[in-house]
Amino acid sequence: METATRAYPPGEHPDQKPPIGQSGVLYWMHKNLFSSPFNVILTLLTAYFLYLLLPPLFGWLMIDSVFVADSRDHCRELGSGACWGFIGKRLGQFTYGFYPHDERWRVVLCFALFVAACVPILWDGAPNRKKWLYFAAAFPFIAFWLLIGGNGSIAAYGILFALVVVPVVYFSPIDDADGADTGGLTYVLLAVWAFLLIGLQNIFFSTDVDIGIGGLGNVMRTLITLLLIGLTMVPLFHRGMAGKLRRQWATGFFALAALWHFVGGTNFGFSSDHLLTIVDTDQFGGFMLTMVIGVTGIVVSLPLGILLALGRQSDLHIIRWVCTGFIEFIRGVPLIALLFVASTMLNYFLPPGSNFDLLLRVLIMVVLFSAAYLAEVVRGGLQAIPKGQTEAADAMGLRYWQSMRLIVLPQALKISIPGIVNTFIGLFKDTTLVVIIGLLDPLGIGRASLSDTKWQGLSTEVYVFIAIFFFICCFSMSRYSIYLENKLHTGHRED
């Protein structure tokens, strides 16, 4: 009775418990499960359904299942549930495919580096994020070297690129000679393309580039390479250079160095098989192959998709028609048909006698496919940006690329995040289709191991196992997109 009479100063009254019947488990159950006769029936029916479904399901998955066994018959003796022993026996193959046993540490290392590279990209609170981002820029090249092997020049150039070119382009002072913005991205992209195209040409095509510099001698060629690399690094040490010159200098000499390296073939005395044994891409398989296709597809298709979307919105008719035609064609046909085109028909379009790595062909198709879908998602975002934004940018005197990069795209991409991530998830799931043209992704490994007479008839276990892997990957991606959406939501909520 004391509390009822006590007087409190305004605003100091302690919170009282809600009245009985307005809180607690019973209230919750009444509100959410038994609010009307219809709901009572629905709840009871669902509960009965769960009672029928869950115990056998968990029994099969966990309780009655067998985790260690030698054959299917052995499994059946030990328990009536799933035979996970089969998966356990083949786990190495499911993870690495037919990657040589002694070289598997490279895949593991590559995956660890991948996780490390993802941290600064996905989490903007990471300590020393800027330095990590340099590493993330170098990662694709390092990963390429680790997985394929060779003398490591790709990785070396990747590190040079990430540690010299990227910082120079992004962190050089902007001076008057540049105007408002220098379009640093353009420089970086040019350098990367020069680098990648030549590098890939060298590795994947059987036709060799020979421009007749073999006669120069190893020492001379190495010296030229070193000179070009040195020139690339000049802006790091020469503080007095103007901003624009620094950018052009670094990217230009980097592209030249890369070009020279790949046509000149300098290898500092290492043979191409010297540091890491070369592993053919047809030995890639399992979850590793899924990750390779998925991650490459995601990284390459996003810029391509944005370009396509911009092209489709362009005022230039021919560019618009080409982009629209391309997007609509790709979206109109199933990926599997495109993969068949890649595996059967693509060779007709190349010069006679050229041989083209199957994995690369598949990657190109996967990238084009998801770029077309991304383009539509991004276009939705672009259309949602009021026209006033571009007009304001025009009025400020920004050029087309500047207004896109600084004004329109940041807003458009922000609102299209859910769609973009959904496309990524779709791409990641679509990597399974490569099994149909004979690549050994987890499904391929699974089907191959199912033909083992010792283990016949265990298809459910295999597919459930693969389904769980994909569920974990895709579900975390969609959760991340929700987190990102909330983080970037700077406007006011409507409700």
């Binding site: 109109g332 199933p334 990926l335 068949f340 028909m345 459910t460 569920f471």
Partner: protein, 400 residues
């Protein structure tokens, strides 16, 4: 410094080489010209390679091979086909199989998807959690895994032909497929069909007239019951009057397999079920977001106007929700059609498996076969999206 500014007409733009890149309009022209040249160059290069490759291999290009004997069997077919038929015939069988699974899939996925979408919005906690779990699990697993999983379960878990699960002695479930009675039309059955057509025509005519009448006088007619009566009732009456001219061919176990009746093969069943279950999860999400997109104020306003709950739903919420639901639904239907190409993984003979698979391997005509397959899928996509666009335009908000 108060100078009077002379406003003059801008100087006439005279042409000079330096302006090509600085003037916005000429720059646009130059870029387009360069793009055209580049595309032409690429196309010419590729075409040149193709011609050279064909010459080198000594292959002619042409579709004459479609008239050759295919020489392979297709177990799932809607039209007559045997191994002596032509490749063209095989392609037709493949197209029909693709359409069959696509249409069946679209129907089942829509039904399941709408049910799931509504369950997902249910205030009942356990029901909406269950729907949520289903949707999230199914959406995040590749459709190919679903297809193989369902196929594996159908083939490995159902009993063999001898121990078929028998429902009412006319439905049999085995690992070789489901066997169900097949309706056989007797001569008079066309009268029932005619009655059905007349019923449908009359129902829509009646609805139209009722609307005109309501617009003119405000009187309402019992549209629902009249439509139900003429679409369902009239054919039933006709069916009974003509003496039930329909017989059932009931499957029976003869020898090693079932004879008679209609066989739903495990390949078709698993593809159909997997595609429908997978796409239903996506449709459910579309339905949910469509219904959630309708502002709560709309419902409240309708209730305040005195509309009963059911009419609020029918006249206010659903029409507005459909506007949001239709475009993504369109792409889901397209997805089912395109995903049906995964049939090849389990041996269902769709267009990719017949003309793009076995025919391609037998004749070695990669180019022609793939062109046919790509062209067909583009046609399907165009047809589906134009139908859905037509429907969408009908529903769209009429604006100024």
């Amino acid at each position: 410094m108060s100078q009077s500014i002379d406003y003059q007409a801008p100087p006439r733009q005279s042409f000079s080489i330096g302006k090509i890149w600085t003037d916005k309009r000429t720059r646009g022209l130059v870029i387009q010209l360069l793009a055209t040249l580049a595309i032409c160059a690429v196309v010419l290069y590729l075409a040149g390679n193709v011609v050279e490759n064909f010459q080198k291999l000594g292959k002619p290009f042409g579709f004459g091979f479609l008239q050759q004997e295919a020489g392979y069997d297709i177990n799932q077919r809607l039209v007559e086909y045997n191994s002596q038929s032509t490749h063209l015939r095989a392609a037709v069988v493949g197209i029909l199989n693709t359409l069959l699974v696509a249409v069946c899939g679209i129907i089942l996925a829509s039904i399941l998807g709408f049910i799931l979408g509504v369950l997902r919005l249910s205030p009942n906690w356990i029901v909406n959690r269950l729907a949520y779990c289903y949707i999230e699990f199914v959406r995040n697993v590749p459709v190919l895994v679903h297809i193989l999983l369902v196929h594996g379960i159908l083939v490995h878990s159902l009993p063999k032909t001898r121990q078929a699960i028998d429902v009412a002695d006319s439905f049999f479930f085995t690992n070789r497929g489901f066997f169900v009675p097949k309706p056989i039309m007797e001569p008079l059955f066309w009268l029932v069909l005619a009655a059905f057509v007349i019923g449908v025509v009359y129902a829509f005519w009646y609805r139209r007239m009722a609307r005109i009448k309501q617009a003119a006088t405000g009187e309402q007619s019992p549209v629902f019951w009249v439509m139900l009566g003429s679409i369902v009732g009239v054919p039933i009456v006709a069916f009974l009057l003509t003496g039930m001219p329909l017989a059932w061919d009931i499957p029976a176990l003869k020898g090693f397999n079932f004879k008679g009746g209609m066989a739903l093969r495990p390949e078709f069943l698993s593809l159909w079920l997997a595609l429908s279950l997978y796409t239903a999860a996506f449709i459910a999400e579309n339905v949910r977001s469509g219904i959630e997109a309708v502002n709560k104020g709309q419902t409240e306003a309708a209730l305040a106007l005195g509309l009963p709950r059911k009419r609020t739903l029918n006249l206010v919420v659903i029409p507005q929700a459909m506007r949001v639901i239709i475009p993504p639904l369109n792409s889901q239907y397209l997805n089912i059609t395109k995903n049906s190409s995964l049939a090849i993984a389990i041996g269902y003979m769709d267009i990719v498996a017949t003309i793009g698979g076995i025919s391609l391997n037998q004749t070695g005509r990669e180019m022609e076969c793939m062109l046919i397959v790509l062209g067909l899928y583009l046609t399907f996509s165009l047809v589906i999206s134009s139908v859905m666009n037509w429907y969408n335009n009908r529903l769209a908000l009429v604006e100024r």
